[in-house]
Amino acid sequence: MNILGRSGVNENIPDFNACNRFVLQVFDALVLAALITIANEWSKSAGKGRVKTVNQLHKVVEQNNWADLLEEMVRRFFPMSKAHFLRSKSQAAVLHAYLAKREEIMAKKKSERTTQEIEFSTAKYKEKYLAERCLESRDIVYENALIMLQQMLVYKDFHDAMRGGHPGRMEKDLEIAMVMFAGCGKSNYVKEMMEQQIDRLAVWTPEHAYLELNNCVVNPSGKPRKWVARDEFNEVINLMASDTVLSHS
């Protein structure tokens, strides 16, 4: 099945390069969509036409301070805890409404309460009510887009740092990645990341840290921005061995 004209993304054994390009392309598209959303609002408030395409975005960028456009986009779409904040806020609002209604029911005499009102005040109904109302009041698509932007940003930076040979950035990204893996249920990788973090904090000497900084990626060609992960180079060996050595044996 092709997704955005790419094969190998939705396969049983996904193709890394296809998935990588797909994720980076989707990130670019999401950022552009966010920029266009804000540009559209600016355009509307200035009494101009709607901004829907990249060509129309060009005009907004030419006429306005695009540094403010970036700032506004980052402020609105990239705060790390925004999705969690929105979720908690809607949960609190629904809970508040439930408690107010329940108080109203409890103020009545037992004999005056209807069957629905008695059911409403049970713990079982409370859970169901909160879950349903929360879903209604939340903008799930927006929340998911926020989470997706966060995850893709860290991935993009990690990948970019790896190719450019910037282990300092990779270290910082791995710290955030560890928490993301925990949230996605990838417990084996969380354990692996934690092992390395604890080694780095408590077991390694500065000499070890210096060696690791300089050798966490390899550059088989010696060219700039051609750094690859150590195990990625091993996959290249596997590819070469599969194509040449083993096919002749």
């Binding site: 030419e62 970036l70 940003l153 000499e207 210096y210 300089n214 150590r230």
Partner: protein, 288 residues
């Protein structure tokens, strides 16, 4: 390929030349290891089908499980000039580099790789590590906003590059495009070709503990060293998450073995490519 270049040679010549080149590389690698250059081992399983069928769960009996690997001699460049400044966040690198060089040159520490005492704390204070150390505030409060501005600015530049230079502030200046962080706290490796030596394909399946143990023995044979040579020494080992878990198990569980087989010399490091794969999988799991 030689034919396409207009070079004619007998069929045996090129394999013979390749074989000779391979043997000279092996010899060079063994000399480097014996000379005390510190190195890292990386391996991964290589699964092939006997026939040209797609690998599935149902034709596993026809799979050939082998292991490929390579040796990387560690690149130890001098620290950047900015690190000599006492106020630099990278000042620690100056002493670290000096100590590594001293250890490599001193006769007392001669041996395979680097001494364990130089690279690992003798009695690590593991209880001093608190959960908040694992995700530092620095990463969330400083690094994350910087990468947000850097990468979004790159996207804006890619799609609206001509329009960016048009806008001028009232004072006549153009806004400055934020860049992806590359300050002194973000160390960058100097460009250099890595010293890599590909090992032969081992006919060993590394997916069991015994297989991994046998693989390490075979790698040592290839490097012309013995397990005794690695007593109190340190060798980095890089693999995917499962390979690393097996090496950890070998270190912890095989207490009945001789100490030389417990792989105390192994410094386990995760492979970043597999972390990338896990990252993509995590993104797909959350959003698809």
């Amino acid at each position: 390929m030689l034919n396409q270049l207009g070079i004619i040679c007998s069929y045996d010549t090129s394999p013979r030349a390749m074989c000779k080149f391979g043997l000279s590389q092996v010899q060079e690698m063994q000399e480097k290891v014996a000379g005390g250059e510190s190195f890292m081992l990386c391996w991964d399983n290589l699964v092939r089908t006997e026939k040209k069928e797609e690998e599935t769960l149902y034709n596993r009996c026809e799979l050939l499980s082998m292991t490929s690997g390579y040796v990387q001699f560690l690149h130890i460049p001098p620290p950047p000039l900015s690190a000599t400044n006492r106020n630099s966040p990278n000042h620690w690198m100056v002493n670290a580099y000096k100590n590594i060089m001293n250890a490599m040159q001193s006769n007392q520490n001669r041996g395979i790789g680097l001494p364990k005492c130089l690279l690992e704390v003798k009695e690590p204070q593991l209880d001093t590590v608190i959960p908040f150390d694992l995700l530092s505030m620095d990463s969330i409060q400083k690094h994350q906003p910087l990468i947000v501005y850097g990468h979004t600015a790159r996207i804006l530049q890619r799609f609206c590059s001509r329009s960016l230079s048009v806008y001028q502030a009232p004072d006549g200046r153009h806004p400055v495009l934020p860049s992806v962080p590359d300050g002194p706290e973000y160390y960058t490796i100097p460009e250099v070709k890595s010293s890599l030596y590909i090992l032969r394909i081992f006919d060993v399946d590394e997916i069991t503990l015994d297989g991994t143990s046998r693989l390490v023995d075979l790698m040592m044979e290839e490097l012309n060293i013995t397990a005794e040579d690695l007593n109190n020494r340190h060798v980095d080992m890089v693999g995917n998450q499962l390979s690393n878990a097996r090496v950890r198990s070998l270190q912890q569980l095989r207490l009945w073995d001789y100490s030389k087989h417990r792989m105390a010399f192994a410094g386990i490091k995760p492979g970043n490519f597999h972390v990338c794969l896990a990252f993509i999988d995590a993104i797909f799991r959350c959003n698809c």
